[in-house]
Symmetry: C2
Subunit: 328 residues, 2 copies
Amino acid sequence: MTDVGAPSLIALDWGTTAQRAWLLDGEGTILATRRPELGLLPTTAGINVRDARARAQAYEAAFWSACGDWVLAHPQLPVLACGMVGSAQGWAEAGYRTVPAELRFGADALLRVEHRRGAAHLVPGLRMPSQDGRPGDVIRGEETQIVGALEVLGDPAEPVTLILPGTHGKWVRVDNGEVVSFATAMSGELFGLLTTGGILARTTTEPRRDDEAFARGLAAGTGPSRGLSTELFGARPLVLDGLLDPASVPDYVSGVLIADEVGHAASTVGRGRVVLCGTEDLCRRYATALAAHDIVPTVLTEDVAARGLWRIALSTGLRGASGNHVPD
Amino acid sequence: MTDVGAPSLIALDWGTTAQRAWLLDGEGTILATRRPELGLLPTTAGINVRDARARAQAYEAAFWSACGDWVLAHPQLPVLACGMVGSAQGWAEAGYRTVPAELRFGADALLRVEHRRGAAHLVPGLRMPSQDGRPGDVIRGEETQIVGALEVLGDPAEPVTLILPGTHGKWVRVDNGEVVSFATAMSGELFGLLTTGGILARTTTEPRRDDEAFARGLAAGTGPSRGLSTELFGARPLVLDGLLDPASVPDYVSGVLIADEVGHAASTVGRGRVVLCGTEDLCRRYATALAAHDIVPTVLTEDVAARGLWRIALSTGLRGASGNHVPD
């Protein structure tokens, strides 16, 4: 029997800056969501990250602060976490699986860490080794979003390109349930650097959302653009000439950056479905940029991470289809 | 008669962060060079830049600190300055000339400002207006470098592309002595932002010059690259995989940025000579990047600014071919 409505799994997407925690029922439905924001950086602030014991204590305390009441109310509940919590600066190093990698996780895939009233289990990341001097890449947390996204899509056998925009956005190629390759674009970080320091930040007054400025930046960065570092600077003469509101510079910059990223990656998409997965605002921006390349993506919400964690909990036996089951 | 060896002009290239001052003789030869580093930012630190009087006082004090002894020793010497000193945040706003613009400056082109023992004269910038929503651009100081560079090149009638790399690098198209168009690439600023903040800065240990890492970044950013924001991030997996020294990340990043800038701009170069003008280190990097596009540039030093100031002093009558001549 399944426990519809009864708490069944504590699931965490635990990244560098953010942290999200869900209480899931016996069918993986979200009963409660929290955003404690105790990501890797706030969790490890002030401790020596090379001291594994200090790190484990800091993560256990952060976990307890975020979910301790859930554990006390439901002592037998398994805990599953993905993201940077499993990195070398995380609770413990959960390792990587090397692509091409199936998205089926067996019982031995997870890393178990102890907390004061039981154990948490960490999902390993994915690794694409550098080859012939060309950079590879690593993923942590996105592998779980992909597992959730593929379930929502009905586990298609045909190729899928998943785009997960963010500070370090990912373009992931999946074929027949296997992650074949992926790449990271740091457009989100560039946006942050450019809008908080340097000449464009100094050209900006109190930012205001401006979809038309975004569209203009997008147009400047699309097609035969003069290159990212030239088109980005273009925001400044537009302001000096009175043709762009200083409050709209960030949206113009966002348009230029996303157009350049999408313009380069779109040619690598190949056949199959394109899926966008992220915040509503970023998905809207990337969908607009993709439209210029005649690509119409399927848009999923960020909560696919909760679905992915549920699915991994099932396939690893951490959460049996009937009743709780904690391995080890 | 010309005063060979006798001080004849105080010339300043006065930019945002840096300031260079030269004492020139009656043939424009450099007698002395100073780098007082009293650029716009240090000069205006702590004053209200909207207060024209406070600004004028701050610039006069900075000028006096840099060159006061020269003025006292040679009271009749004319003073000519180019760069941000003539901007809205400068000593006074020297305005812009609109392209296409001849590079011959008449007597009325300069703006006169008073100092306690005489006057200084400011060179106007160049402006390319925004058109049809496409960003234009402005130049201040580079117009003077171009004047000097063209003299060194023997005032060619055929088209010349001048590349002036830096924080905000310029690509300038000159035809028959006229500046036809120009564009700014902010690769230098992006380099600064990426190597002082964010994930790549955190991936770097104490930086060390590494020409091979620069060449590898150049190769990653050249040709069918995956786009700037993806290739930049590539430095991190290379370090994680032990294939790039953490101390060499800045040179890799420099290679990726310059390759992307040059790759886009190279297609716009068209016929005519290509001239590089800047610091020895930046010219070497850009020349390497240009070689991948079969472009062999003529390389000039930064001191062409002194030559340009001398030439403008002559054409405006600020410094006559024989003896001193101060207009107004």
